[in-house]
Symmetry: C2
Subunit: 420 residues, 2 copies
Amino acid sequence: MTAGPAMMRLAALVEARETGRARPDHMVALSRDAIARLDGRIHAFAHVAEDPAVSAEGPLAGIAIGVKDIFDTYDQPTCYGSPAYAGNRPATDAAIVALARRAGATIIGKTVTTEFAYFEPGPTVNPHNHAHTPGGSSSGSAAAVASGMVPAAIGTQTGGSVIRPAAFCGVAGYKPSYRLLPTTGMKHFAPSLDTAGLFAASVADVAVFAERLTGRALAAGPVDASTITVGVYFCPQLDGADEAMRLALEQAAEAAVAAGFTVVAVAEPRPLMLAREAHGLIQDCEAGLACGPDLDRFSDSMSPRLREAIRSGLMVSPQDYDDARRLAKRGRGAARTLFDDVDVLLTPSAPGAAPEGLASTGDPRFNKLWTLMGTPAVNIPGFSDAAHMPLGVQAVARFGHDRTLLSVASRLEQAFAEAR
Amino acid sequence: MTAGPAMMRLAALVEARETGRARPDHMVALSRDAIARLDGRIHAFAHVAEDPAVSAEGPLAGIAIGVKDIFDTYDQPTCYGSPAYAGNRPATDAAIVALARRAGATIIGKTVTTEFAYFEPGPTVNPHNHAHTPGGSSSGSAAAVASGMVPAAIGTQTGGSVIRPAAFCGVAGYKPSYRLLPTTGMKHFAPSLDTAGLFAASVADVAVFAERLTGRALAAGPVDASTITVGVYFCPQLDGADEAMRLALEQAAEAAVAAGFTVVAVAEPRPLMLAREAHGLIQDCEAGLACGPDLDRFSDSMSPRLREAIRSGLMVSPQDYDDARRLAKRGRGAARTLFDDVDVLLTPSAPGAAPEGLASTGDPRFNKLWTLMGTPAVNIPGFSDAAHMPLGVQAVARFGHDRTLLSVASRLEQAFAEAR
C-alpha cells in the first residue's frame, strides 16, 4: 500500500447518508474544507464553485464531484485547459454533468485538464510527490481524488487519459465501454476514441459511483473466483515497462491465483498489435477535423505541440485513415475472440510509476489499444515502487461486460491487499 | 421531370471556374442575388451572411453553401432552430464548416432547421408548392438548393432529415456512411445516429460536392451496368407508400433493367425489421442524455413535442436501450449479408410527395433504418406525382461503399430521365 493521503470513500459516504449518519450539506462541506486546505499545493482545480447547490435527494446526494474542465458547465467557467477559452461560459451542461446533477451530486469544481485533453500539462502535481506528474490528461480529476479533496471525479480518455493518471495517483480509474457514458458537451479531440471515465478511491467506490450516475447495475457484485479466468496479457510494450511494474504484474498474478482465480498467460494476437499501431493515425486525423476550427481561429494561443498535432492531423489522407479504421475493426474482432477464453485481462496501467517532472504527463502505450477497442478497463491501485510511488495494474474485459470487469477487479483489489 | 425552379448545378459551376469561364466572386454573387430575390417567399435561410468571404483558391472556390443552422459558425448566429439559442455566437466553426471553408467554399448563410433538428418546423416552404412542407429537419438546406439559391447545402439526418426533404424538394440528398463527415460542432440529438449529409441539384452534383469537401474519391465514376445488381427492397413500410410512390419505384426498376442493370427483388430480412423498430428507442434515449441539459435550462422555450421527446427519453431504462442497441447490431450483420448479393438497394425516399401543410415535416419511415445501420443512402430525384410534386427514390449501399453508391445512383438518375 502506498503511504498516500487519506482518501474520501464514496461507498462509505453513500452508506452513511442513507443510514442517516451523514447529511448531504455536511458531506459537501468536508470537500470544500479539504479543497481550501489542500488545493493551494495540489492545483487539481481549475475552478472551485463558490456556493454549489447541494441536493437533499438522489442516489449521489452529498457527493461532491470534480469535473474535468473539458466538459461544459453552465454555472462554472469551461476553459478546456486552453487560454483561447479563458472565461468561456457555455449555455448548458455537458450531458454527463446534467446526469450527475440529476442524481443529486454536487459539482464542486472543474478539475485541471491538459490543453484540449492532449499533452500540454496544467499546474497539477502528484499528491504522492509534488515533484512528479499526476499523469494526464485528466490530471486534476485523479489528483483531487487521490489527495482526499473529493470522493469522485469525472474525466475522459482518448489515449490513456483516465487509466494513466489513476495509476500515477494511486486511485481507481474506470474507462467504460465506448458510449456507456455520454460525451455530448465535451470538447472533442478524436470523437471515435473520446470516452468519458470516472475516478474514485477504490474499484468498489468507482463501481458504486458508476451505478448511481447511470442507473445501470454496475456496482461490484460477489465473484466466484473458481469460475473466472484471468489472463496476464503479454504484449511487446511489456519490454518498455520498468522492473517495479513487471514485479507488480507478477505479484498481481500470484495474488489472483491465491484468491482462487484461474490465471493463464495470453500472448497478444497480431491483429491487436496492428490495431494499437493504428491508434495514433486515427487520433491525429480526427483531431485535425475536430480541432481544425480551433487552429483556424486560435492558433496563436495554442501550445506548439497541440498546434503541430492538429496540423499534422489535417495532412492525413482519407485512404490512410480508412486503412487505420479497418485495422481497428479487425482488432475488435480479435478482441472478441480473445475474450472467448478469458474473462479479464491484466496488463500494466503504465510503464511504471509517475515520472519525475511536470513537463510530461507520461506514456499511454498500455492504454491506447483498449481505448480504440472500446473495451472497458479499470486501473486497480494498490502497488507501489521502492520510492513509495503508486503503481497500477489495469484490468480489461469484453465490450459491454463492464459489471463483470468491475466485480472481478474489485475482488482482485482485495486479493492484492491481502497478499501484501 | 417536375416543373420545378431552375437549380444551380455544382458540377457545371466548378468546371466553369476551373476553365476560367466563371470567377468565384461572380459565382457567389449569383447566389446572393437569388437569395435576395427568392428567400422572402421560400424562407430557407435563418441567417444570410452580410459580406461573406470569397476564396480565389480551393476545390470549392466560388461555391456558395447553405449550412443547416444546427452547425456552429463563428461568424454567423447559430440558433439550432430554437428560441433558447437566439443570438448564440459560437467560438468556432463546426468541423464540417471549417472543412468547407478550407476547400474554398463560401458559407453564404445558415439554413432553417426544425427545432434541435427534431419535428417542430421552421418557416420554410416547399419551392414546388408553397402550401406544402419542404420536409425536415434539414428544411432550409433542401429548399435553398431546390429553389436555385445555392448549388450546395449541408444538413444532418438522425431519422430521415436529409433523404426526406431532398425527396420532397426534388434534389439529391446524400447521407454518407456513418462518420464519413465529421459532426463535431453540431448540436447533437442522438449521437450514435446523427449523420451529416449533403444536398445538390443532382446525384452527380452532390458526389462532386462530397469529393471536393472531403478529399475522398467520391465523384460518380463510370458504371458497367452489366456487373451491377440492383435490389428492389420489399419491406412492410411499402404498404404505407402511396400509389404514385409505388409507381415511381416500379418505373425506377424498369428503367434500371432498360439501362442494363441486373434487377432483383429483395425481401427485408427479419433482423432489419427488428432493427427499424429499435431506432425510436435509441433516438429517444440518446436525446434524453444529449438534450437533457437543455431541458434542465430552457424547458420554457421548448415546443411541447420537443420537451416531451426529451422527457420520455430520460425515462428509457439502460436495459431497454442496450436491448435496442443489440437489435441494431444484429441488423448491421444482416445488412452486410444482404449486400453480399446486391450492390445497391432501391426503396422509396418517403411514403409519397410532400404533404400539404407546414405543421408536419412528413414521415421518416423509409429512412430511419438506414440511418441506424450507418449505410450510405442517396435520394435520386426525378419522379413526380399527378400534382407535379417531386417523388424521390432512395438508393442504399454497403457501409463504406459510398463511391459505388453515388456512381450507380448517378447512372440510375440518367436512366430515369431517359425513360421519361
